[in-house]
Structure formats: structure tokens, C-alpha cells
């Protein structure tokens, strides 16, 4: 009789211990889940603080005049006209150089490249280029484009530099988009007698367009915020004039002088204002930063949206 009682007690005790153990494990679970949420909140909070800090200082400066004025020695008159025009033109060069090169390289690596050492070299190279610090691209541009090729500190130099910088992004995005296309599509085209280029041009590239577009937008969003390489090529920071317009009323209607023009871009303008001691210029920096952040956010959001649509719509 006594033995059974102790047996039950022992049993109950073990059960209690087990329950306590399970409860403590569950507490750990809950604890870690809260730590995880906190970590995420930390990231979100940092971003919110960054955005609101800039918004508080910068929003009063964001007026139509701010977009239509040149930089000035007096903070309240200064604006970002030459900066946003410069950024737009540089992005134009970057896109025109990076898209054909990046898509071409991506198509080559996925569709054409034979399995040999040369292909391996190119692949390893693209991976490594993606990790090279942006300022090193600036040194490349300074030594090679500015002095060896004599392109000067121009929009062309800046555009080409940023194009090289985002090339890995475009290549990787192109490759991923192409890799998602089933082999059956290619086999179908070949079965109808299409050549390799016809298959690529009529099927592979159109079907991977959304993925490529995502990569291009993300790449350009990165390029538009890049400061270090542009500073390194020695771009001036005080530019109170616009490059010659690319389009003109008289024949031949297009004008390429703007390519060799000195320029400034948004991040440089912001850096310039940030490094001045006067409070008033800090407000300008905040306003410029706000415009810059909104621009990159819109571009990134667009890319995320395209990718989301793509994932929902395509069913192979």
C-alpha cells in the first residue's frame, strides 16, 4: 500500500517536473519570438527615426523654388536644380550603358556560354565585382576614364562608372529571370525550326522582361544614391549652371555636348551641404536627403511590386 502511494507521488512529481520543463521551454520560445520582433522593430525604428528626423528639418525647405534654384552661398536661396538635372542625365547614361551590357552578358552566360574555363572566369568575376567597394570603381574611373582616356570629370565618366558599378546587379537579375523559364519553351521554339537567336529574341528575353526590369530598377536606385565614386572622380560640388540640353529646336535636334559637361548630382549636393557647419545648410541637406530617399524608395517599391506581380501572374 505504502509502496503504491510513493509510486504515485513519484509519478506525479515526475509529471510536474516534466510539465515545468515543457513550460520553461515554451517560455524560451515566447522569449525568443519577442526578441525577434524586437530586432525587427529595431530596424523599422531606425528607419522611421531617420526618415522623421530628415522630414522635420527638411520639409519646410521643400518648395517649388527648391527644385528650381541653383546652389547658392545663402542657404535660404539654395536649391537642387543642377543636382536633379545632373542626376537624371547621369542615370540616362548609366541605363543606356548598363542595360544592353548587363542583359547581353546575362543572356550569354545563361543561353550561349559553353562549359569551359572562360565561362567560369566570367562567372567568378561577376560575383567578385558585386562585392568590390564602390569607391574602388571611383578610383578606376579617376585613373582610367578621367586621365588615361581623357573623358574628364564629365557626365559621361560618371554615367559609365555607375554603369560598371551596377552591371553585376543587372547580370544577376537577368540570369535569375532567364533561369526561371522552363526548357520546354526553348524546345518548342527549336522544334519549329527557330535558331538560337530567334528563340532568345522572341521568347527568352520577352518572358524574362519583368525580372530584368526589376534588376535594372534596383540597380538604378543604387546608382542614384552613390556618392563615393562620383566624389572620387573629382566632380565639382558647386555647379550653378545646367549642362547644354540634349534636345534642341534646330537640326540635327539632338546635341551630345551635355555628355562632356561638368555636373553635380543629388548625393554630392547633399554631402556638400552636410559638411558645412551652418545650421541653415543642414536643413538643405535634410531636404535633399528627403528627396533622395523618396526617389530610391519609390524605385525600390516599384521593383518589389513588379516582382510581386510577376510571381503571381506567371504560371509555367
Amino acid at each position: 500500500m505504502g509502496a503504491t502511494t510513493t509510486g504515485t507521488d513519484l509519478h506525479a512529481g515526475k509529471l510536474r517536473a516534466l510539465r515545468a520543463l515543457i513550460a520553461s521551454h515554451k517560455r524560451w520560445d515566447l522569449f525568443f519570438a519577442s526578441v525577434g520582433v524586437l530586432a525587427l522593430m529595431f530596424g523599422i525604428l531606425a528607419f522611421v527615426a531617420l526618415f522623421f528626423d530628415m522630414a522635420v528639418d527638411g520639409v519646410p525647405r521643400i518648395t517649388p523654388d527648391f527644385f528650381a534654384s541653383f546652389p547658392s552661398r545663402r542657404a535660404e536661396n539654395a536649391g537642387i536644380l543642377s543636382a536633379w538635372v545632373g542626376s537624371t542625365l547621369v542615370m540616362l547614361v548609366t541605363a543606356l550603358a548598363a542595360v544592353p551590357l548587363g542583359v547581353g552578358a546575362g543572356v550569354y552566360l545563361e543561353e550561349y556560354a559553353p562549359r569551359n574555363w572562360m565561362t567560369d572566369v566570367i562567372e567568378i568575376n561577376v560575383t567578385n565585382l558585386a562585392g568590390v567597394p564602390s569607391i574602388v570603381y571611383g578610383l578606376l574611373a579617376l585613373g582610367l576614364f578621367v586621365y588615361q582616356f581623357g573623358l574628364g570629370q564629365s557626365i559621361l565618366t560618371a554615367g559609365l562608372t555607375l554603369a560598371l558599378l551596377i552591371l553585376p546587379v543587372v547580370i544577376v537579375a537577368t540570369r535569375e529571370a532567364i533561369r526561371a523559364i522552363p526548357v520546354a519553351i526553348r524546345e518548342g521554339a527549336y522544334a519549329l525550326g527557330a535558331s538560337k537567336w530567334q528563340t532568345t529574341h522572341d521568347h527568352i528575353i520577352p518572358y524574362s522582361m519583368a525580372g530584368i526590369l526589376t534588376g535594372v530598377i534596383i540597380g538604378l536606385a543604387r546608382a542614384i544614391g552613390e556618392t563615393a565614386p562620383i566624389i572620387t572622380i573629382g566632380a565639382l560640388t558647386f555647379i550653378a549652371f545646367l549642362p547644354p540640353p540634349p534636345v534642341q529646336a534646330t537640326a540635327p535636334f539632338v546635341n551630345f555636348e551635355w555628355l562632356t559637361s561638368p555636373f553635380t548630382v543629388m548625393p554630392i549636393q547633399m554631402f556638400n551641404w552636410t559638411s558645412r557647419p551652418e545650421e541653415a545648410f543642414q536643413a538643405n541637406a535634410a531636404a535633399a536627403g528627403l528627396v533622395l530617399v523618396v526617389m530610391t524608395l519609390v524605385m525600390n517599391a516599384l521593383a518589389i511590386y513588379i516582382r510581386y506581380r510577376l510571381r503571381r501572374n506567371i504560371k509555367w
Binding site: D53, M54, A105, N128, I171
Partner: protein, 315 residues
């Protein structure tokens, strides 16, 4: 071209004499297009060669003026003084300290976010958080620099009253925030690549989520997580604008993060902002600094990608 050798009915050739010609021109066109695409792919190789060439070319000229021994052993970097001294140590130290501060923030937070998103978070939270983290990674670094200088430094000065306006602590902390999304996304990819069967086995043994995450999934994904850290280090070492804006640009051989200092990247920016004549030793010195930076990040990148590939092959 291959069609020439193929046996084919003679009647067909007579019926369509242009058939071969068409194929020939088509083949030529195909070859030309393939060549063009190959050249596009070669541009990336040319970029690397260009970087290596220009860095070594200008650095060689630099090391003709400055002995290698001085470069590595001198603890002063004063290229703009009348008696210039070129010891890379202060710049390396600045890079090391700011990166260390950044990683102290980014590694714990990034890892926790990765584990949480991969093992704990409900589907909807994950779908919302990932694009947000991407946006965080897409903010221009100059904006982070402004944030460090104008927001974080005054905040830190309230906690540590003696803190100078330019300091490595603030720059490093903000840099850490910048690197978080980078580490969390690579680490999460590695954890998601761990097969479900391992988790199912663990749950079947009565393990909780936390136990499964820390004792099964994390060890299985460890090389991918390590790769995330290493790629994060590479990012921190190469980061420019945050340190240039917030850490001050004076070379300072110290490990105290509360002091202002310069890094390799900040020095390059500083020289580029002034106008040193092309071909001077000062001009060449930024290429020598750039070469150090390039080699440093190259080692981390190769190591990181090697480890990343390792976990991919494991399953």
C-alpha cells in the same frame, strides 16, 4: 555550317536552291550575335582587369617614393604635411574600429532577424518584413551619414557628455544598421535552404521551435550564416560616406571608438575633395590606399562566397 554535311534529298535542293544560302547567312548572323553577347560578358572581366591594372600601376609609382616597410610599420599618416609620412596603420585602425562597432550591432540583430523570419514568423509577417528590409538596404549611404552626424551623435552626446562631434562610435553604429538587412537576408537564405525533414525530425522528437532553431537549423546552416557575416565585414570595410561624414577625416591611431579618426575610404574621399595634382605622390597615395582596400575586401568576398557555396552543396 553543319547542314552542308547532312545528306538530304537532291530533289529538295533543286526545288529550293536558295535554302542553303539562307541557312548560311542565318548562321553568320547567329555567330555575330553570339560574339556580341560574349563581348558584353567580357566587359565585366575587363572591369576587373582595369581595376587591378590602375591600382597596381599607380601604387607602383607610389611605392617608388615610399618604401613598403614604412608603409606598413609607420604609425603616422600625414600625406599633406610638409614632411609627409605614409604609414597605413592609422587608416587600417580606423577601418577596423568602425567595422567592429558596426558588426557588434549588425551581427546580433541580423542573426536574430534571420532566425525569427526563417523559423518563427508567420507567413504574413515575413512577406511584409522582407521588402521592408530591402528598402532599408536601399537607402543611400550619404543619407545614413547625415543621420549619424545630425541625429545619432547628439543622442550619444547626451549619454556620454564628453563625446566629440565627429567620432567612430556614431559612424559605426549607423553603419551597423545599414548592414543589418544584408546579413539577415543572406543568413535567412541559408536557413531556408535547410531541408524541412531536419525540422520535422526535430519536432517529432518533441523539440520546441527555439530548440529546433538553435540546435538543428542553425548548426546545419552555419557555413551560410558565417558567409553572411563575412560578406557583412566586407561591406563594412568598404563603406565610405558614413565614415567620411560622421567620423571626421583625421588619421588617428587609436582603438577608442569615442575618438574621431579616418578610414581608408574616408581618406580617399578627403583627397578627392581637395585638388592634388595628377601624378603627385598624394594623388598616387589614394591608389595605394585603394589597393589595400581592394585586396582586403577581395579576401573577405572570396572566403564568403566559398563558404556560401559549401552549404549549397551540403544537401
Amino acid at each position: 555550317m553543319a547542314t552542308v554535311d547532312l545528306p538530304r534529298p537532291a530533289a529538295m535542293a533543286i526545288a529550293d536552291p536558295d535554302r542553303l544560302k539562307h541557312k548560311f547567312s542565318r548562321n553568320i548572323k547567329e555567330r555575330i550575335i553570339e560574339m556580341i553577347l560574349f563581348l558584353a560578358a567580357l566587359v565585366s572581366v575587363a572591369t576587373t582587369l582595369g581595376i587591378v591594372f590602375i591600382l597596381f600601376y599607380e601604387s607602383l609609382a607610389f611605392f617608388r617614393h615610399v618604401p613598403l616597410v614604412d608603409f606598413f610599420t609607420d604609425t603616422m599618416w600625414t600625406p599633406l604635411f610638409s614632411e609627409p609620412r605614409y604609414g597605413i596603420a592609422p587608416l587600417l585602425m580606423g577601418t577596423l574600429v568602425t567595422s567592429a562597432v558596426a558588426l557588434c550591432v549588425a551581427i546580433p540583430v541580423g542573426t536574430v532577424i534571420a532566425i525569427y523570419l526563417s523559423e518563427f514568423a508567420p507567413f504574413s509577417v515575413r512577406e511584409a518584413a522582407k521588402p521592408f528590409l530591402e528598402l532599408l538596404g536601399g537607402v543611400p549611404t550619404i543619407v545614413y551619414g547625415y543621420f549619424a552626424l545630425v541625429f545619432v551623435t547628439p543622442l550619444l552626446q547626451k549619454v556620454f557628455p564628453g563625446l566629440p562631434g565627429f567620432n567612430m562610435l556614431s559612424a559605426g553604429l549607423v553603419m551597423g544598421v545599414m548592414i543589418i538587412p544584408y546579413i539577415s537576408s543572406v543568413a535567412e537564405d541559408a536557413m531556408r535552404a535547410v531541408p524541412m525533414s531536419l525540422r520535422e525530425g526535430s519536432y517529432a522528437m518533441g523539440a520546441t521551435r527555439f530548440q529546433t532553431a538553435t540546435r538543428v537549423v542553425t548548426p546545419a546552416a552555419i557555413s551560410g550564416i558565417a558567409a553572411a557575416y563575412i560578406l557583412g565585414i566586407s561591406r563594412a570595410v568598404g563603406e565610405t560616406m558614413i565614415v567620411a561624414v560622421a567620423a571626421g577625416m583625421q588619421p588617428n591611431f587609436t582603438i577608442n571608438p569615442a575618438e574621431p579618426a579616418s578610414t581608408i575610404t574616408a581618406y580617399i574621399v578627403q583627397v578627392a575633395l581637395g585638388d592634388l595634382p595628377h601624378g603627385s605622390v598624394g594623388y598616387q597615395s589614394i591608389f595605394a590606399a585603394g589597393l589595400m582596400l581592394f585586396l582586403l575586401t577581395l579576401v573577405f568576398n572570396i572566403l564568403g562566397h566559398w563558404m556560401r557555396r559549401k552549404y549549397r552543396e551540403a544537401y
